[in-house]
Amino acid sequence: MFLSEVLILSPDGTCLLSKNFRRGSSVNSHDAFVARMQEQRLTDSSPYFSVNGLNCFFICRKSLYFCATSTASVPALMVIESLTRFYQILKDCCGTVNEESIRANFILIHELLDEYLNCGYVQLSTTEKLKSYVQSEPAVLRSSENQAAGLFGLEFRVAPSNAADRPVIRPRVDQEQRKNEIFLDIIERLTVVIAANGTMSRGELQGQVNLKCFLDGCPQLKIGLNKDLVIGSKDKSLKSYGNVVYLDKCTFHNSVNLDEFTDKKIISVQPPEGEFSVMTYALEGDFPHGLPFRIYSYIKDDASSRDVELNLKLRCELPGNCQAIDVVAHIPVPSKTTGICQQLSSLNQSAQLMAAEKKIEWRLKKVSNKAEHSASFKLVGAKENKSCLIEIGPIILDFEISGFVCSNLQIQFLRVFDRELSYAPMKWVRYITTSDSYIVKLK
């Protein structure tokens, strides 16, 4: 059950940090990982392997490798889960996790590891509890944009994009000028398959309500959700009644108090320090607002030519005035395609043939609501025989929409119960929808 060694490796295999808990094995852990890296790209291989009785595990986050080894038959899932948590703790304690911040905080990380993995056994794993055992202060790396002072009052309106990338444990000097802030994110990931006739043949979303808290004294919070929220009811007919928000499954964090949930849909929580998911939920089937994107296609197949013409139209069907950014459509094309001619409807798009992956990447920087973009591609030399056409499609769509979630879940209010009323906290609520696997079939 114990871990023998924990290592953090840079993408090229340099050891940034290693901590040994147990008697070594005949195999050097670091060598084992480096050898494995040379063999194959670690991201493509399963997250564990064994070398001469040494069991090695790793996860890859922000292109750093967090590795653990053990000579015992450890529960694989526990090791991977604990590495994941370890990364989370580092994020909480160092702000951002990268090579520089790990080097800068090596003593702190050693201390953390000592508490987190006492003699190789996983112990406390919440940042809040670990904090009380740690003496070192985190070294915060300041990026230049962070230092730009806010103009009068304006800083109240906009938080810098990396505002949440700060360590939760604060250096003592900072404590005085600490801003009381709280970030609440609702993130939904969509898995959608749209059949060729435009109907949705599979639709799932996985959602999380994440909370990151920088408040003095860990006060109690109350989060109000939609009043008409229905969870897991078999009776799907309820959906038809107006604005009911329906979720299939919902799990809450251990620290959440659900006393007021059934009646008022209010959850109260005593937030532990660090980032955590207040609730995770899932929804399957139709979404209240329908699908955010649709793609219409037309393949023009001229019998006399070896080229194939492919016309696409992307339509954004978001409600309100939100917009999607970084929309990328991956369009598989026949392997024989030697080049493409393209015609795009607007300027903020681009398209490119990735010959090695036999696909076209069609990028749209910004897609606003109800907008329609079209592209037509001529696939040169695509058609060797008739059957080549089935290699076109299905189209895979990547996107990120801010200010909108498909489930319609909403935060009605977020109250901070600070007994002394010593401060007015800044509250940031963000809604984000991203694609997990959004597939549009063409035929």
Partner: protein
């Protein structure tokens, strides 16, 4: 201010400067200096010269500084053990510090310093800390015990720390309980003796389950894993444990969820499958398994590996959750492949349409491995769900139309299997297949195509031309293609004798004259002889109806499946192998865990839910390769014992009288269109061999009693002159599963000898005396005494050279005497070393051919049965016996006390005193010893 500035000092005399700073009066400067030292240490600079100065800083009440110093100490204590002693006093003092953080820190650090001298000092403080008033200190101490056990197990047992640990199981603080459980689990894993001291009974389990609700998530994992190892008294208790564990299924931590699933899956064995409770459990297991798939890919992967066999054990649980296993395009490839596998396992006639639509989609993706596996999956669907076969075939045809090289090849391989499952149904598509002949460049696809041509030669007009075109490159083809080509041409000839005469002669001469491969040559000879003596018989043999292939080919063997259920969430579950197959030999062998039988009334046992298990003969060991799925065709298959025909054997000795043998051999060969089929019938043959070895079952009963294991003659270990008057001769024996050292001690001195004691050095197999030398004291001059010293195998392990070397020290009132002797390997063979036939087959196959070793045993005057018996008395068990062409082949297995498995094949030709012995094991070092064991067993 960042710590990285400490890395920048590279001036000369740096050490000197640091030294000055370390001895500074100011605390802040001291602290900075220690930080600098540690910074240098982490980048690999040698700062051990500063050891005394840093240790001086230890005496401080500043916690931060103290921690830094401890960090330094842990790193250098090993290279500077003498210096480390200097720090011991401070450690001991810190263990009494009023601050619990410091007490815990001191104990933890001492445990980390692997210096023998320190461990001695550690005992007292550790004992105090185990009873400390602060839970943080107690839990640190508990873990420290496990660590100390790893370093010096004897010390821990002598000091009674195991008892203290057991007391901690009843601690009021759940965190302490969890860590004590973790420590105990680790100790029990490494040492069998400890499990006698700490016995998990129902009261303790009860306490653990109470602590479960309050402790941290990782503590819950420790506790659940310990509970999983407990065997409840009866169904009621099992039920109540299940009830208390079920809430854990909703936990956010996936490790907790999977451990809870493990407990429940194990206990479900004991619960009446008809009861309402059982069906409720089944229902409750589905949602957590599904939630595990909504996580990071790494966690998903481990979960999928577990689900893969949970689904095989209890298909009901996830039968309606097919959708969650549909592949997402951005899943990492290892997750995709695993999902695909599970999809096929869950396929049935209700969801087949959906699955097929998905698979077709996957087959046009980019990743080659994934596409291949998807195409195979379509074939597996066709074989599994008969109603869908037609749709699958048309899907495959569509895919062939894409002309994507690897897709076409995979499709042809699976279509061949579909033909074997549904003969005479889909032959209309052969024409389409033939169009793609020239694109095939992989041996497996070529072989499959040739098989199809041969099998349906009468319907393919230009079959002769097609085969002829293959024949041109006969010598460049792989063995499996050559074999197929040979068989296909013979089939063609038998079906259409007129046109193919020339062709068949050509192929036979190619196979028999120009070829080095004995398999091919022998098969060629057989066909030749058959065709020339009795063409009618040839027709009957070669064109005989073949058994249909089974539905599922890569199911996990039931006994392994049960064992895996016991190891859910561990590494075993990820590798789909029992733990002893990949864990480094750590002391004792963890006992093989098996599922508990349900303790209800016996008439119900027969009504346990039917497992989805195919007839055993068709079970092909699960191969972890990407493509080796439905058909496992690898070159090594040819080297399977079943087809290892002695080369030239037919040419020299086959006469009319041996036609039966030839038929037998054909039995192996003719169905063997491809690698798998070579395997499956031989698997069946293996079982057949089992029938003939059924007689040994009887021998088991008598054999053991009638003749005892071989005991080598006494050997002079310590002559008088070296033993200062004491003479020791000895040997080793094994009786009733216990190893004994047989000693003869003679006092050749003129004075009586007293106070004998014996000790072994660490050795390869962990042999230790389990009791002291029982020599009558005093041993008078010229008196001689015979002793049997029982030995255990749980001692410390160190690899010796030679492997069986054992260094012994015997002490008496005169001196300590040292000698060394060799342990004969056979005393280490365990009584339970007999493998299942299927396990044997799988293991044999798993071990690469390179690690096979061959020996010749000369002048053996036993026949196969007598040899079997003789070897069995020495715990070398015969798994199966076969006769091939006058040779007797014995397949044998043995298991060493440390869990190493050795597989052997013994080739005996009646009348010939030389036996051929081939050994296979994952640990090649043991071969020499095993060979000697055979020599000894068969010569005496």
């Amino acid at each position: 201010m960042t710590d990285s500035k400490y890395f920048t000092t590279t001036k000369k005399g740096e050490i000197f400067e640091l030294k000055a700073e370390l001895n500074s009066e100011k605390k802040d400067r001291k602290k900075e200096a220690v930080k600098k030292v540690i910074a240098s240490m982490t980048v690999g600079k040698d700062v051990s010269a500063l050891f005394p100065d840093v240790v001086n800083c230890m005496q401080t009440d500043n916690l931060e500084l103290k921690k830094l110093v401890y960090l330094y100490l842990m790193n250098y204590a090993k290279s500077q053990p003498d210096m480390a002693i200097l720090a011991v006093n401070t450690f001991v003092k810190d263990c009494e510090d009023p601050n619990p953080l410091i007490r815990a820190l001191a104990v933890r650090t001492m445990g980390c310093i692997r210096v023998d001298k320190i461990t001695e000092y550690l005992c007292e403080p550790l004992r105090k800390c185990l009873k400390d008033e602060d839970p943080y200190v107690r839990k640190t101490a508990a873990v420290c015990v496990a660590k100390l056990y790893d370093i010096n197990s004897q010390l821990v047992e002598d000091q009674g720390f195991l008892d203290s640990l057991r007391e901690l199981l009843s601690d009021s603080n759940p965190m302490v309980v969890a860590n004590a459980v973790a420590a105990i689990s680790e100790i029990m894993e490494t040492s069998p003796t400890a499990s006698q001291i700490i016995n998990l009974n129902s009261q303790i389990i009860n306490k653990l389950l109470t602590a479960l609700n309050e402790c941290t998530e990782w503590g819950q994992v420790f506790i659940l894993d310990a509970v999983a190892d407990y065997i409840p008294k009866d169904e009621r208790e099992a039920q109540s444990i299940c009830e208390r564990v079920t809430p854990r299924l909703a936990h956010a931590n996936s490790a907790v969820v999977l451990s809870a699933i493990k407990v429940i899956m194990k206990l479900m064995e004991m619960i009446d499958p008809k009861s309402e409770f059982f069906s409720m459990l089944t229902k409750k297991l589905a949602p957590p398994l599904v939630t595990l798939l909504a996580t990071e890919p790494e966690i998903q992967y481990v979960s999928l590996r577990n689900i893969n066999f949970i689904v095989q054990k209890r298909p009901d649980i996830l039968k309606s959750e097919m959708k969650v296993f549909f592949v997402k395009y951005n899943d990492p490839i290892y997750v995709k492949l695993e999902k695909l596998d599970i999809m096929i396992r869950l396929t049935n006639h209700q969801n087949i349409a959906q699955v097929l639509a998905e698979l077709k989609e996957y087959a046009t993706e980019v990743d080659v491995d994934f596409v291949r596996k998807s195409v195979r999956a379509i074939g597996r669907c066709a074989i599994k769900v008969e109603q869908a076969a037609e749709r699958c075939v048309s899907t495959l045809l569509d895919l062939i139309q894409t002309k994507v090289n690897y897709v076409v090849q995979e499709a042809i391989v699976v279509i061949k299997d579909i033909f074997r499952k549904y003969p005479n149904k889909y032959e209309s598509i052969i024409a389409t297949l033939c169009e793609n002949l020239d694109t095939l460049d992989e041996p497996e696809a070529r072989a499959s195509m040739i098989w199809i041509i041969g099998e349906y030669a009468e319907r393919i007009e230009n079959a002769d031309e097609l085969l002829e075109s293959f024949l041109e490159s006969f010598h460049d083809e792989g063995t499996q293609v050559q074999l197929q080509l040979l068989t296909a041409v013979v089939k063609l000839f038998l079906k259409r004798p007129t046109g193919a005469q020339e062709l068949v002669q050509q192929v036979l001469s190619l196979a028999t004259q120009d070829c080095d491969n004995p398999d091919l040559r022998d098969r060629g000879y057989i066909y030749w002889r058959l065709l020339s003596t009795d063409p009618a018989a040839a027709k009957e043999v070669v064109l005989a109806e073949k058994p249909l292939i089974s539905e599922e080919t890569d199911v996990i063997e039931p006994s392994l499946l049960d064992e895996l259920i016991c190891h859910i969430s561990t590494l075993s579950s990820v590798y789909h192998k029992p733990p002893n197959a990949f864990i480094e030999g750590r002391g004792g062998v963890p006992a093989r865990q098996s599922l508990l039988p349900r303790m209800g009334s016996s008439d119900l046992t027969s009504e346990l839910p039917p497992l989805q298990v195919t007839p055993q003969a068709a079970v092909i060991p699960n191969v972890d390769s990407l493509i080796g799925d439905l058909l496992d065709i690898n070159p090594s298959a040819v080297q399977q014992p079943s087809v290892m025909v002695p080369s030239g054997g037919l040419g020299t000795s086959s006469g009319p009288g041996q036609s039966a043998d030839i038929m037998d051999l054909l039995g192996d060969g003719f169905g063997s269109i491809l690698g798998t089929s070579q395997l499956s019938p031989s698997g069946a043959d293996f079982l057949g061999g089992g029938r003939s070895s059924g007689a040994f079952g009887m021998d088991d009963v008598f054999g053991v009693q009638s003749s005892t294991a071989f005991v080598p003659p006494l050997e002079m270990w310590l002559p008088t002159d070296k033993g200062k008057g004491l003479e020791i001769a000895g040997t080793f024996s094994r009786r009733n599963g216990q190893v004994f050292m047989e000693l003869n001690l003679t006092n050749r001195a003129i004075q009586p000898m007293t106070s004998f004691a014996i000790q072994f050095n660490k050795n390869s197999f962990g042999l230790v005396p389990t009791q002291q030398l029982n020599v009558p004291s005093p041993l008078l001059p010229n008196q001689s005494v015979n002793l049997s010293l029982p030995l255990g195998t749980s001692g410390p392990i160190q690899r010796m050279d030679p492997l069986t070397n054992l260094q012994v020290a015997v002490k008496n009132n005169i001196d300590v005497l040292y000698f060394s002797c060799l342990v004969p390997m056979h005393i280490l063979f365990m009584e339970d070393g007999k493998m299942e036939k299927l396990t044997f087959l799988a293991t044999w196959k798993e071990i690469p051919v390179q690690s096979e070793m061959q020996y010749e045993l000369k002048d053996v005057h036993y026949n196969a049965d007598a040899a079997t018996q003789k070897l069995q008395t020495n715990n070398i068990f015969t798994v199966a016996k076969r006769s091939i062409d006058g040779w007797d082949m014995l397949y044998q297995s043995m298991k060493l006390t440390n869990g190493i498995l050795v597989l052997a094949e013994l080739k005996i030709q009646p009348g010939n005193p030389s036996f051929m012995l081939s050994l296979k094991s994952t640990t090649a070092e043991v071969y020499q010893g095993v060979y000697k064991a055979y020599e000894n067993s068969l010569h005496l």
